[in-house]
């Protein structure tokens, strides 16, 4: 699935839409940034509740191209500014990490 397809999902709000619409190849669900850093694949979507600037730093270094913030956690302005600078899409959803992961997994055929 493409990153832009996330925008069409129910309960998904796009908070940062300055991104290159690439194909999502994998997903990674974690709230531990060191774990994301070590294990998230290049070109994946990150499902997390960590909604701050460091999430963007880790995503950028690990090659994560989109971040989905669960439980409608508010994203800080500096997080969105950093994401815009890095060209990483940011979405927000009311679903929790489990529900979001299950949903995205269906789209990725996993």
């Amino acid at each position: 699935m493409k990153i832009s397809e996330l925008e069409t999902l129910d309960d998904f709000t796009c908070l940062q839409d300055e991104y290159e619409d690439a194909e999502i190849s994998a997903g990674y669900t974690s709230d531990l940034l060191s774990d994301v850093m070590a294990n998230a694949e290049d070109g994946s979507v990150l499902i997390t509740i960590q909604a701050h600037k460091n999430t963007v730093a880790v995503s950028s270094l690990a090659g994560v191209s989109a971040i989905i913030i669960c439980n409608n956690r508010p994203a800080s302005d500096d997080m969105l500014a950093a994401a815009e600078k890095e060209g990483i899409a940011v979405f927000q959803t009311a679903r929790n990490q489990f529900q979001t992961s299950a949903l995205i997994a269906r789209y990725l055929g996993e």
Partner: protein
């Protein structure tokens, strides 16, 4: 958090990083004047006077058991006790430094204790040298001139824009999460622009980011240096403390001393140092409580010398 703080010049950071990378053994005075337990304060005075030094270690079969400083000598002189044994006037519990420690640890020790010299010991705890601030100043001047020479040479032959050679040092401040990750991003971009394979770039990014976050989250401040050439990326992290009590523990996945706030930010899962080690081809860590921690991680850029753990 660091807004308004003026960043020091890159060249001065480079010199600091260079001298931090030196070992105490390369800087100390190896010719030490020491006395044995049965020597008198008068003997010490003669030694100090003849050699213009301000502290003399007391040794018992090469082990340091005390130190007599100018201060102790003056106290003895005042009491007219110059024929007393040194054991009566020396300071018994001596803070020593190990010869293979990085110089940065010694600099922290000078900051922490008010001593003017430190006896240096080897692995067998035998006295092998003495370190004073004068030694450090000399090392600094030596490194400065070397650095200056290098800069002059570089001026004559400026590196090509796509060259892989880079030496850069970043300063990191405690709890400055705002800027944690900046160095790693810059280095990642540098390598990417020079067409280093993405997997290798990522390994460098992991090692560098974890070290950066460690400095911000756990140290009282320090620096992260990058030395890159065609063959490898060398990342070195130096901090001024607090130091790690048990390195094996710190290298165990899951072990962390992070506080609640750091954890709430998604850090402090006890994966930092193990992650750095996993992605590095060469890894070394040294630490001393109260003095600091030094980590060095090397990642080869040459595909033939691949990391076997990957």
């Amino acid at each position: 958090m660091s807004t308004g703080q003026k960043e020091p010049l890159q060249s001065s950071l480079r010199v600091q990083e260079l001298i931090y990378g030196l070992r105490i053994s390369a800087v100390m005075t190896s010719k030490v004047f020491a006395v044995s337990r049965n020597c008198t304060m008068r003997d010490v005075r003669t030694i100090m006077k003849n050699n213009s030094i301000s502290g003399v270690p007391v040794v018992d079969s090469k082990r340091v058991v005390g130190i007599v400083t100018m201060n102790d000598l003056m106290n003895a002189l005042e009491k007219g006790a110059m024929d007393d044994c040194v054991t009566k006037w020396m300071v018994g519990e001596v803070q020593t430094l190990a010869e293979d420690m990085p110089l940065s640890f010694a600099i922290s020790a000078f900051g922490k204790f008010s001593f003017r010299q430190f006896p240096v010991v080897n692995k067998k705890n035998e006295l092998v040298g003495i370190l004073t601030f004068r030694n450090i100043n000399h090392a600094l001047i030596r490194e400065l001139s070397r650095q200056l020479r290098e800069m002059e040479q570089q001026h004559e032959h400026p590196p090509e824009p796509e060259s892989l050679n880079l030496v850069k040092v970043y300063q990191l401040h405690r709890y400055d999460f705002e800027n944690g990750g900046k160095a790693s991003s810059e280095i990642k971009r540098f390598l990417k622009e020079r067409n280093i394979p993405p997997k290798t770039v990522r390994r460098v990014a992991v090692a560098s980011y974890e070290l950066e976050i460690n400095l911000v989250a756990h140290s009282i401040g320090g620096m992260l240096g990058f030395d890159i050439n065609e063959e490898r990326v060398k990342i070195s992290s130096h901090d001024r403390g607090p130091g790690i009590a048990d390195i094996d523990e710190a290298m165990t996945e899951g072990f962390s001393t992070a506080n609640e706030w750091i954890r709430s930010q998604g850090f402090g899962a006890g994966m930092g140092l193990p992650n750095v080690k996993r992605v590095s081809d060469e890894f070394a860590i040294e630490s001393a409580v109260g003095m600091g921690t030094m980590v060095q991680a090397v990642i080869y850029l040459n595909p033939e010398t691949k990391n076997e753990n990957q």
